[in-house]
Symmetry: C2
DNA sequence: GTGAAAGCGCTAACAG
DNA sequence: CTGTTAGCGCTTTCAC
């Protein structure tokens, strides 16, 4: 009897029919129970669950995705660095995605990767995702991908062109502004900026915030020094800034650079905060324990991720509705010992 | 005429039949081309590709997974922290997974999460993955999950019980041993250890390596101080250790703690490295720029991830074969300024 | 409240 | 080298 021999000797992994048979219901009812659909009597529900439990049944997500056309997953494109900022954001995104009931797929773009964001997005599309998060992108010129799922860009990128792309700021500009104002409030005439690499939108945001703070008070805007986020680049910048006696306050675009900067300043005999005040950005774990403890602003990664995901999920599940209004992320300045009043206070003028 | 009206007004997204029709071949041939199967003439291949391109065709991974029984994805369970070590490992894993031709799905277990690793693994199983990587697990007691896919535990965990579970060390014990020996070689009679939380296997490995180095030279083993990876805990430990004049060398289980420790030591008037030498672990980005620049050991995250993935992919694709032999990850000690000879050298004895 | 039938878009197995 | 025939395990649609 050569009747329906299964394609392989698939021994195990029960399917919903098996559960149905055991529970004495139809396969469709099992499906209803597992999807929390209404109109299933409590009793049937219980029987189905018991049967499923006994068999060790697990919904097959591939079959579900095929039949429903939805994967219940979102993909995230990250930069592939373990830098504190991007890594923290990624963790926040994971949590937000899971809380929203989706699965997370991750693809990195390494800086300098020829395929870049486009390649990463393509790969996500190949995998099948219901939505895409682009985290802290860098400027690769205009990126235009034919995407039919909603995309949210966390950290400003007017350069991503897609039918359903939304941009959600991470509030870095505001944070940068607060950092700069802190220095100004202390009595510094102006504030220098040690910027991040300007290919990163995150770095541009911070620069914008710094610039806005200065402009709002009519202060002169010193030349920007650009680093690459690393402490080494901060150190190099520090050697350069140390030579300029006009420098009394510096806002660094991240804590790593701030730490390198402080070291160079100290080596050059310009004590922090006695001669130069420094504010960092991120509040990395060691910020409170370096010498001197670093004044910095903390980024609300979790809040940003949640907010972004709220928008994305909305776009996925209610495509016909308008996007809900965005909430501003909280701002937190952490004042420690790397900032102080300028040594020789004069009445703060508008010029030196 | 109410003939075959599609279930929705599915407008677009071409399927392989559409490509086949356009290319003038059978659907199966399209499948062959997209799977790089042999025995397709170059000409047909070209025509199919052209047709696919024209239509903007993309293989449907859900259908593929359903039909083939393989998802071509691996899941990773991480701890959900942005700590430098775990975050770096995750980035390494992403790269290794992608290089191996798989997609990556990520689920975090937050420490203290009731569901823990078990819950994370279940969630991955629900999503459907061909293999699972458990990254830097912590001890939650014996974890036994009914898993039918291969599992690799990166960072030693005899507590994970599954039919096809492999453990791949990250070499932390060896690195810890090298760090300790560096201090001993400098002439310190013994080395104290500022350990990580012992629920983490990563912390235990380091402790083991430290212990082994001491034992190999017959040195006394001082009481261990345990921190929680944070600089704050390192600081607390530092206050405690500063009070003990017998402490001349400390091996800290990560750089963050080492930095907190150094600060506490300095505040207590015990200069580093004049009075106390300190070695860290990880080589975080700022390690070279704190005061004093930190001697530390660098973890070979990429190598560990690659090695682990090699084993996992082998287990997935050649389940019948034995696992290939493991390669040892490289060891790299970075000597900077936080370590020196003990101040008053006596002939190194075996006891005080 | 529940069930039967008809696919979702692909790969497996085998025939040519 | 290429095509045909069956499903993979679920959701959808519609009937009861």
């Amino acid at each position: 009897m050569t009747q329906s021999v299964p394609r392989s000797e698939r021994a195990s992994t029960p399917r919903s029919v098996d559960v149905a048979r055991l529970a004495g219901v139809s396969q469709k009812t099992v499906s209803r129970v597992f999807n929390d659909e209404p109109y299933v009597s409590a009793d049937v529900r219980r029987r189905v669950m018991a049967a499923a439990d006994e068999l060790g049944y697990r919904l097959n997500s591939a079959a579900r995705a095929l039949a429903s056309g939805r994967t219940r997953s979102v993909g995230v494109v990250t930069l592939g660095t373990a830098l504190y900022g991007p890594a923290s954001l990624l963790m926040g995104i994971e949590r937000a995605v899971r809380d929203a009931g989706y699965a997370l797929r991750v693809v990195n773009t390494l800086e300098g990767d020829p395929a870049g964001v486009t390649g990463a997005v393509e790969s996500l599309l190949d995998q099948g995702v219901d939505g895409i998060v682009i985290s802290e992108p860098i400027d690769e010129g205009a990126v235009a991908v034919q995407v039919d799922v909603p995309v949210i860009v966390l950290g400003a990128s007017p350069s991503f062109v897609a039918p359903r792309a939304v941009t959600a700021g991470v509030g870095a500009d505001l944070l940068a502004r607060v950092a700069t104002e802190h220095l100004l409030d202390l009595g510094h005439e102006t504030v220098h900026h040690l910027a991040g690499p300007q290919r990163w939108f995150a770095a541009r945001d911070r620069l914008d915030g710094w610039r806005a703070a200065l402009a709002a008070r009519g202060r002169r805007e010193p030349a920007v020094v650009e680093g690459d986020w690393s402490a080494a680049s901060g150190y190099a910048a520090g050697r350069q800034l140390a030579a300029d006696p006009g420098v009394t306050a510096v806002f660094a675009a991240n804590d790593d650079m701030a730490i390198g900067l402080i070291r160079a300043l100290a080596e050059a005999g310009r004590g922090v905060p006695e001669e130069v005040s420094v504010v960092g950005f991120d509040d990395i774990p060691v910020a409170a324990f370096v010498t001197p403890p670093l004044t910095t602003v903390r980024q609300p990664f979790d809040a940003v991720a949640q907010e972004g995901l709220r928008l994305l999920v909305h776009a996925i599940e209610k495509p016909e509705q308008d996007l809900p209004p965005a909430n501003d992320p909280p701002v937190e300045l952490v004042v420690r010992a790397s900032t102080a009043q300028p040594r020789s206070r004069t009445i703060p003028g508008r010029d030196r």
